[in-house]
Amino acid sequence: MDLSALNPVAIAVSLIVAATPLVFAAIGELVVEKSGVLNLGVEGMMIVGAIAGFAGANVTGSTTFGVLCALLAGAALSGVFAFMTQVLMSNQVATGLALTLFGLGLAAMLGQPYSGIPAPDFPRVWLPVLSDLPVVGRLLFSHDWLVYVSLLLAGTTAWVLTRTRAGLVLRAVGENHDAAHAIGYKVVLIRTGAILFGGACAGVGGAYLSLVASPLWVEGMTAGRGWIALAIVVFASWKPWRAVLGAYIFGGVTIAQLNLQALGVAIESQYLSMTPYLVTIVVLVIISADKRRARMNAPACLGRPFFAAG
């Protein structure tokens, strides 16, 4: 094994690329869950975002337009979930699964004409002097703009949730919807807003996969990342910065196993490819083992349907 072939800066950059879609999806789902709703459709919304972003960018040649398409597509799909669970009060677990199954099928259908063609180049940030600095320039100042947006999103979410009235209301709805309703907050409306936000984030995360990370459209390309994002929310104990940390850890695991495969380690590549999924399980077990802490962190009304009686 020749370790000198590894370039630490390149590895760090690829780690960030692997982590960013997870940051988007996990932050979105975190807000949804903070409002007391469990949306298991992240995988479906991500893949629909991936194809919508790819198609939008390819048709117009503008990656920015592609990202916008993905955002709207993710939000639209989550709108179906919002209508079903908030207006028709359907079972959230089953509806989320339906969303994933539907989204995977829809994306595969829409994506047929787009497989095998390249995505337009995604622009990178370039700052005079700063981006040209050795090492630091590549690590900090020359990513694509979505990387910075994802971190900004995490920061803003953390600030809104803990430091603003809007965040307090959202958390109140998630902790005790009956009390929030009694005070006069519109539980269904607030939750619908959170669900749409989550869908938009998942859509952008998907677009990042098809426009930046791959950059190609491949059927089923999310490969469980939506589910991993759900696990990251649990790992993060519903705290935005910890979700970013979780996403970067999973990005690191993905990149580590890819580099091991590239180095030609004498393990079949499939076993190495299993590691992100196995790590997810291990992390879930470690985080959930302390039942009391797990219960304290989770929003109390998570997954419970709300019906405004009277």
């Binding site: 339906a98 199954l101 099928g105 595969a108 259908m109 047929q112 076993y271 299993m274 879930l284 019906f307």
Partner: protein, 358 residues
């Protein structure tokens, strides 16, 4: 304006009508979808829902595709009744195929009536063991069974791929990632001459009957329903939650594993990376569409099998994209879950007459 008002009791009529209305709505919206794709909508619906019923071969294929769906869904429904969400049936199906298939390959060229039962046993045991991983992690460490069982789907798929490119690869297969073809003793007997319908269909039928007896006539079924509706009451009644979780997951995993073995030893005839066809996920739709009731699941499984076969027909005859059928199946689940609300609530005008009734 209209609003929803809770019913005093769940409406049985509505609960039974919901799947039918959902199917009708899916057909209508499916026609819109097909029209958008530039296909003749009426012809598409006829091709998907009617043409498979018009010839003997397609009718027998209903059994081929319905068998895994019904087997898996009967098991899943038991867990769903108790609020235990085994979403990883696809992984248990794959591991069942691996274990059953590996057993068949281990006794390659050994003749004997005992080979198949041994393969089935191995497949069911492997599926149950795979499902017990999330079950034990849930009971012991409180880990979410939805996420763990789902992660294990990807692990199982990769494992199958590793095995057929490695130890289980056909030595005379020019390095193609596939196992040897199973020999006669390791292949399921065919039920109907000249078709692919195999004896697995009988096992699915047995699973429906046993599932019905368990759910409706046995204390175990009662405990499952009680945990689903009133977990505290179930604990007070002396039922053990860990035992319920472990058993429900093991049963559903075992059935999924058995279905996997059947698929390998039946229609596919060898282990290939493309063996998993999504039955484990579609079975979730089947379970809900069948109202989590074994008899309903039998009908729902046949209906879903119909859309698979009709979908293949529509691909050939009208160049309908393969994924259109997944969209169709996803829509069906949406409509079903949406219609369900009316078994618990009724629509009433916002203001006026019914003011006192709420």
């Amino acid at each position: 304006m209209l609003r929803l008002e809770p019913r005093k009791e769940r409406s049985r009529a509505m609960a039974l009508a919901a799947p039918l209305i959902a199917v009708a709505l899916t057909m209508i919206f499916g026609m819109i979808l097909f029209a958008l794709l530039g296909k003749d909508p009426v012809r598409a619906i006829v091709t998907i829902f009617w043409e498979p019923l018009t010839n003997d071969f397609s009718r027998s294929e209903l059994l081929v595709k319905g068998t895994p769906l019904v087997l898996i869904a009967v098991g899943l429904a038991m867990g769903f009744r108790a609020g235990i969400w085994n979403i990883g049936a696809e992984g248990q199906f794959i591991v069942g195929a691996i274990a059953g298939g590996a057993m068949g390959l281990a006794f390659y060229d050994v003749q004997g009536v005992w080979v198949l039962p041994l393969m089935c046993l191995a497949g069911a045991a492997a599926g149950a063991a795979w499902a017990l991983i999330p079950a034990i992690l849930k009971v012991k460490f409180n880990a979410n069974e939805i996420l763990v069982s789902l992660m294990l789907v990807y692990v199982a798929g990769l494992w199958l791929s590793a095995l057929v490119t490695g130890p289980l690869r056909d030595p005379d297969g020019f390095n193609f990632p596939e196992s040897r073809l199973f020999h006669d003793s390791a292949t399921l007997p065919i039920l109907l001459e000249g078709t692919r319908a195999h004896v697995g269909a009988l096992a699915a039928l047995a699973a429906v009957l046993i599932g019905w007896a368990l759910m409706e006539r046995h204390e175990y079924g009662f405990s499952l329903k009680l945990f689903g509706q009133a977990p505290r009451a179930a604990r007070f009644a002396g039922f053990s939650q860990p035992r319920t979780v472990l058993l429900a997951m093991a049963v559903s995993g075992g059935l999924a594993g058995l279905a996997g073995t059947f698929e390998a030893a039946g229609p596919v005839g060898q282990l290939v990376p493309g063996l998993p066809a999504g039955y484990g996920f579609t079975a979730i739709i089947v379970a809900f569409l069948g109202r989590l009731h074994p008899a309903g699941i039998l009908l729902a499984g046949l209906l879903m099998a119909l859309t698979y076969i009709g979908g293949e027909g529509a691909q050939l005859a009208m160049q309908l994209p393969a994924a259109a059928i997944s969209v169709f199946q996803g829509m069906l689940l949406f409509f079903l879950l949406g219609m369900d609300v009316f078994s618990r609530y009724r629509l009433v005008p916002t203001r006026g007459l019914r003011k006192g009734a709420a």
